[in-house]
């Protein structure tokens, strides 16, 4: 019976449970494609794993060759040993056969033939071995792998420290001769009354421990502890005979000021050599030392076996030694300590730091540094601005 019907409904109802058996050959096609594709996938995976393993092996082998070349000869020695063993086995075999033949207990045994054959093969193999080795010894890069390896950065000697890239810490013990001097006028800061006396720096000494931490490829931060001893000499001091220095305003704690002569008259005499009849000419040494704690940034210019860095930073210096000495006619006498030295002062540091690899993690470290001190003196009279130059030399251990 005819009726008006929504076309969607017509199709939906008719096709609702619509099923058609697929052609028979379809399953075969699907099955075949499944079989082909799955092993392909697996092969690809295993090929990837194998190739990665092979590459690793090649790297390790090459690495061993270049880093520890003795290993190669060890392998050779091993091969030689094996050859000897094989030879002796073969010889023993021969001897046994001969014994058996002599005794006449056996007729020409069939085993002799394979043994001889084995011997021949072994000898040939051995000869091949020897030839191969000779070729290798003459031309070590004859094989493909090694030729390839030549182009690898692994080959370069500089690559050795690159393996220690992960080594971020380094600790160094340094010793440095120090030359102490001043930028300003060379007048003495000991006392304003000695302003006109010439001053010369004294060579001194610093030693300590330096610890650095590598922040990234270029920058490191370093600190440590140094014991610094510096000093300078105020020349041409006029000394009255038999008397110790009386009272320079900036000298404290003089225990041996026994003179009854008024202070003023003597200090005046000291300024002018020869003004006191029996006076001696001498010098005042001011010696002081610090515990230095630097905080510096290192910027790497070159790395590897020879590492060159620029260093900049500052140090905090804690006064731990302070002494004034008078030297005249070969005598040296402590006259107390200077009161014009600040207990804490600072220095700005700049220099170069050079590391040279000597063994595994150990480097020779040479670091010329210029350290300019600020507010060394609480009431400096002249414009004495001290600096010191040190060539810090020592051993550096990286880990």
């Amino acid at each position: 019976m005819r009726e008006e019907k929504n076309i969607d409904r017509l199709f939906q109802e008719k096709l609702k449970d619509f099923e058609v058996l697929p052609p028979n050959k379809s399953w075969n096609f699907i099955e075949q494609n499944m079989v082909v594709k799955s092993p392909k996938k697996k092969t690809a995976f295993w090929m990837r794993v194998t190739s990665i393993a092979a590459m690793l092996l090649a790297f390790i082998t090459l690495g061993n060759k270049y880093i520890a070349p003795n290993n190669f000869s060890e392998i050779q020695q091993f091969i030689f040993k094996q050859k000897d063993t094989i030879k002796s086995i073969v010889q023993t075999g021969e001897a046994k056969t001969q014994t058996l033949l002599k005794n006449g207990t056996l007729k020409l045994p069939t085993k002799v033939i394979p043994l001889n054959a084995q011997k021949q093969i072994t000898e040939t193999e051995l000869e091949e071995f020897t030839i191969l080795e000779k070729v290798r010894q003459k031309q070590p890069n004859v094989s493909f792998t090694l030729k390839d390896g030549e182009n690898l950065p692994l080959n370069k000697e500089i690559s050795a420290p690159e393996f220690s890239k992960e080594k971020r810490w380094s600790i160094a013990y340094n010793v440095a001769p120090i030359y102490f001097s001043s930028f300003g006028s060379s007048s003495s800061p000991v006392n304003h009354e000695l302003e006109n006396n010439s001053v010369s720096g004294k060579s001194n000494f610093s030693h300590g421990i330096k610890i650095a931490f590598k922040l990234n490829n270029k920058f490191s931060v370093q600190s440590g502890v140094n014991l610094v001893g510096v000093g300078y000499t105020t020349n041409n001091i006029q000394l009255p005979p038999g008397v110790a220095i009386i009272s320079l305003t900036d000298i404290a704690g003089i225990s041996r000021t026994t003179s009854k002569i008024p202070a003023g008259s003597y200090t005046k005499k000291m300024e002018k050599p020869g003004s006191y009849p029996n006076s001696h000419t001498g010098s005042i040494d001011q010696v002081f030392g610090y515990i230095e704690i630097p905080l510096e940034i290192k910027y790497q210019i070159t790395g590897g076996k020879l590492g060159v860095n620029i260093v900049g930073g500052f140090s905090t210096l804690f006064l731990n030694k302070n002494e004034l000495l008078i030297e005249a006619d070969g005598f040296r006498t402590s006259i107390g300590e200077a009161s014009n030295l600040k207990d804490i002062n600072f220095s700005g540091n700049i220099g170069v730091d050079v590391d040279y690899l000597i063994h595994k993690n150990i480097y020779i470290n040479v670091s010329p540094m210029l350290k300019v001190q600020t507010n060394t003196f609480s009431k400096s009279t002249g414009d004495f601005q001290p600096y010191y130059l040190g060539i810090y030399t020592g051993l550096n251990f990286k880990f």
Partner: protein
């Protein structure tokens, strides 16, 4: 064996399990391909490619929805991917009414005839009619599947309905007159 275990076995590339899945769902999926394709040969190609994809991706099935629905989506997607490759031109939107009524006696209409009519539709119309009417996708979904505007999807559907109506009526009138 439960369906879930069967699916897991298929994921392990178990031949028997794969054959069982094929036995269970092959007819339904082949019918689906017949509707979406314009002839039996094309349907067979789509069916085979779709089934291979199903077995390759079966380990990705998360056991949450219907397995049959999941397989049907893969089949439809296989067909649509081929369609996208063909890059059929867009057809301009027309204003055609939503409902199309056909004057028909259902007993006179065979399933084979309806299937043939669907297959004869131009590709775009066939896909939209199948997706919207027979598999219940929305115009929004269809527009994203086929990378066309929603309006285009609606327009294509209307065109498909009219073509089908005309063909059904013409066949029926032929049958009466014949």
């Amino acid at each position: 064996m439960s369906l879930n275990k069967l699916i897991k076995q298929c994921a392990l590339n178990d031949k028997t399990a794969q054959a069982t899945v094929y036995e269970l769902y092959g007819s339904k999926l082949f019918a689906l391909c017949l509707k979406y394709s314009n002839n039996k040969q094309e349907a067979q190609d789509n069916f085979q490619d779709g089934f291979i994809t199903i077995f390759h991706k079966i380990e990705q099935f998360n056991f949450k929805g219907s397995f049959e629905g999941w397989m049907k989506r893969i089949m439809v997607n296989t067909v649509l991917q081929k369609y996208r490759k063909k890059n059929v031109l867009n057809i301009v939107t027309e204003n055609i009414p939503d409902e199309v009524i056909v004057d028909v006696d259902e007993d006179e209409v065979s399933l084979d005839m309806l299937l043939k009519l669907i297959q004869e539709l131009p590709e775009r119309y066939r896909l939209v009619f199948n997706l919207y009417v027979l598999d219940g996708y929305t115009h929004k979904e269809i527009s994203s599947f086929l990378n066309i505007a929603e309006g285009t999807s609606k327009s294509n559907l209307s065109r498909a309905r009219f073509i089908l109506k005309e063909k059904v009526e013409s066949i029926l009138s032929d049958q009466i007159s014949g």
